[in-house]
Structure formats: C-alpha cells, structure tokens
C-alpha cells in the first residue's frame, strides 16, 4: 500500500483495537464489580489479561505507523501533543478529586474522630523518613530524564541510554520503597477516613508511577532499537511529560497528606 498523500494528515488504516479495547475495559470494570459482590475473580482476571494484550498491540501499531512507515508528520505530531496534554489534564482533575476528599475530612475533623487529624488511634508516618527519601528519588528522576532528553537531542546515544536507565531504576526504587511502607504501615485502608484518603490517594499515585515507569521502559527499549532521532522522538517526550506529572502529584501528596496532615 503506497504512502502517497497530498496532505500532511494521517488517515488511519482499519484497526480492531478501538472496538476490542472498549469491550475489554467494559468487562474489566464489570468484572471488578462482580469480584466485589460475588468474590469470583475470573472475569476481572481475564479482562485484565485481554486489556493488556490489546494495549500492547495498539501501541505497537502506533510505533509501526510513526517510526517505520513515516506517517507522523509535524501536523500529526501537533495532534499527538494535544492528545497527551489533554490526557494529563484529565489525570490532574482525577487527582484533584482525591485531594478534595482529603481536605474535606481533614480540615474540620469530625467529633467522632476525636476532633483531631490524624484521628485518635492513628499513628501516621514520620514524613522526614521514607517519604522524604521518596521525594528526593522522584526529583532526582526528573533530573535524569532531562539528562537523557538533552542527550537525545544532541544525538548522543550512550548518554541518552544512561539517563533513561537511571530514570527507570529510580522509578523502580520508589515503587519498592512505597510497597515496603504499605506493609509497615500501622494503619490500613479500613482505619477511618484517614486510611481511606491516604491509601486511595497514594495508591492511585503509585499505580501511575508503575505506569510511568513502564512507559519509560518502553522508551528505553525503543531507544536501543534506534527508534529516536535527535529531532523526532515524541514517544519519549510524552513519557517525560507523564513522568513530571507523576512527580508533581507526589510533591502535593507529600506536602498535604504526609507533612501537613501529620
């Protein structure tokens, strides 16, 4: 099939992934509700597997279209940038709802909780132990991803690789430390509204760290396959934008929930 077109836009080929992904995420959320009500995990487990496979194949196709078929012109790139910006914006609003919930409960603590925050009986984390370390780790990872980006822009393959490896490593280090914190926590998600707000907000953040780390890992692998040029590497930029967003959300979490909320 010829790539000839006398316009700079990408009219995509027919693909099964949009419809199939709609079915798989629908069955994923249905499966989640079924699990919580009937304690049967089969539907959610199968749907998670299917959704993962579909995501891999759809994004694989986008990489093929952009990197191998040359269909990502500057105008297509503008559209992709808008898409990523709008997506990240929607995620900002998603997190704002959890911060709203946190401040709703913590600014005027209910008399039933002892009119205090943290509620009586809850022993919060010392913010200047592992949470502070996690802050340093994410800030450092923002520096390393910038190191990698500049190296990419200057066509320095090795430095680009090193920066990206450092960033992925820091992301994994953060996730392991948070998992350790979750296990060592003297309070659970079921311990008053403190536990609910803490674990829902930090839990969704942790999920986004894992997603961001996976995105960066994909960029690392693509870099090893020489997919990025010094002027054209939007996948990398999108991953870096997402990673900075994850870092900023953590800073808000650290300051409000860990520090102010202590």
């Amino acid at each position: 099939m010829s790539n000839f077109m006398n316009h700079p836009y990408h009219l995509v080929d027919k693909s099964p992934w949009p419809l199939l992904s709609a079915f798989s995420v629908m069955s994923l959320v249905t499966g989640l509700a079924k699990w919580f009500h009937t304690f049967n995990v089969s539907l959610v487990a199968f749907s998670l597997f299917a959704t993962t496979l579909i995501m891999i194949q759809w994004w694989r196709d986008v990489v093929r279209e952009g990197t191998y078929q040359g269909l990502h012109t500057i105008q297509v790139g503008v559209g992709l940038r808008w898409g990523m910006i709008l997506f990240i914006t929607s995620e900002v609003l998603f997190f704002m709802s959890f911060f709203w919930a946190f401040f709703h409960s913590s600014l005027a603590p209910a008399v039933e909780l002892g009119s205090s925050w943290p509620p009586a009986g809850i022993k919060p984390f010392n913010p200047f132990q592992i949470p502070l370390l996690n802050t340093a780790i994410l800030l450092a990872s923002g520096v390393t991803v910038t190191w990698s980006h500049h190296a990419l822009m200057q066509n320095n393959y090795t430095q680009g690789l090193q920066g990206l490896v450092a960033t992925v490593f820091l992301g994994l280090y953060f996730t392991s430390l948070q998992a350790l914190e979750y296990y060592e926590a003297p309070f659970s998600i079921a311990d008053a509204v403190y536990g609910s707000t803490f674990f829902v907000a930090t839990g969704f953040h942790g999920l986004h760290v894992i997603i961001g780390t996976a995105f960066l890992l994909v960029c690392l692998i693509r870099h090893m396959f020489n997919h990025f040029s010094s002027t054209h590497h939007f996948g990398f930029e999108a991953a870096a934008w997402y990673w900075h967003f994850v870092d900023v959300v953590w800073l808000f979490l650290f300051i409000s929930i860990y520090w102010w909320g202590n």
Binding site: W35, F36, F39, V41, I74, G77, V78, R81, W82, E112, L113, P119, A120, G121, I122, K123, N126, F128, Q129, I130, L132, L133, T135, A136, I137, L139, A140, V143, T144, T146, W147, S148, H150, A151, M153, Q154, N155, N156, Q159, G160, G163, A166, L170, A179, Y182, Y183, E184, A185, P186, F187, S188, I189, A190, D191, A192, V193, S230, T231, F234
Partner: protein, 111 residues
C-alpha cells in the same frame, strides 16, 4: 477569537519541537552535560543523604512499634469483607502493626 488562541497555542506546541531541533544544531551542544552534572553532584547525593537519614532513624523503637489497641468504632471497619482470604485482613496486612477488629493477633510476642 478562539481560532486565534488555537493558532497561538498550536504554534507554541510545534515551535517547542522545532526549538529542541535547533538545540541539536546550534550553540547549545552540551545541554546533557549540565543535567548529568546535576544528576551526580546534586540529585543523587541528595538521595544518598536521605537514605542515610532513614538508616539512622531505624533505631527509633517508638516510631516503629505498633500503636496500643483501642477499640475505636471508626477503626478496622468491616462493613463488607475484603474479597480475598478470610476477608478480615487488608491487602498489605502486617500482623505486627495491624490489629484485627478484635485486637492484635497473638502470633509471637515481640512487636
């Protein structure tokens, strides 16, 4: 009005990419060196200091011990069982520091 705003923002987005392209060509050759220096002289030492701080804080028994069990009704809520195991333990349940609604499990006595 809206289209003018749209054009300005779109140009802002595409010039970001063009400007980063120019960084590859003109004076700015060693931007990565600055960020690598920041990594090894500021960022990673900062992480190391925080790691040291955590290590030094591990001895604090009070900070790492289980809180005394008080049967507050807003704690250890079990309106619906957890959808795993016996439904009484949270996902990251740690018997040393997480009490069940009836109190701490008596597996071994050193908290």
């Amino acid at each position: 009005m809206a289209s003018v705003l749209g054009k300005v923002v779109s140009r802002g987005i595409s010039t970001t990419r063009v400007a980063s392209g120019q960084a590859a060509v003109s004076g700015h050759q060693d931007g990565w060196k600055l960020w690598r220096k920041l990594t090894f002289l500021v960022a990673l030492p900062g992480v190391a200091l925080c790691m040291l701080n955590v290590y030094l804080g591990l001895d604090d028994v009070e900070a790492h011990s289980a809180p005394p069990f008080v049967p507050y009704d807003y704690m250890r809520i079990r309106n619906k069982r957890f959808p795993w195991g016996d439904g009484q333990k949270s996902l990251f349940h740690n018997p040393h520091v997480n009490a069940l609604p009836s109190g701490y499990e008596h597996t071994d006595e050193h908290h």
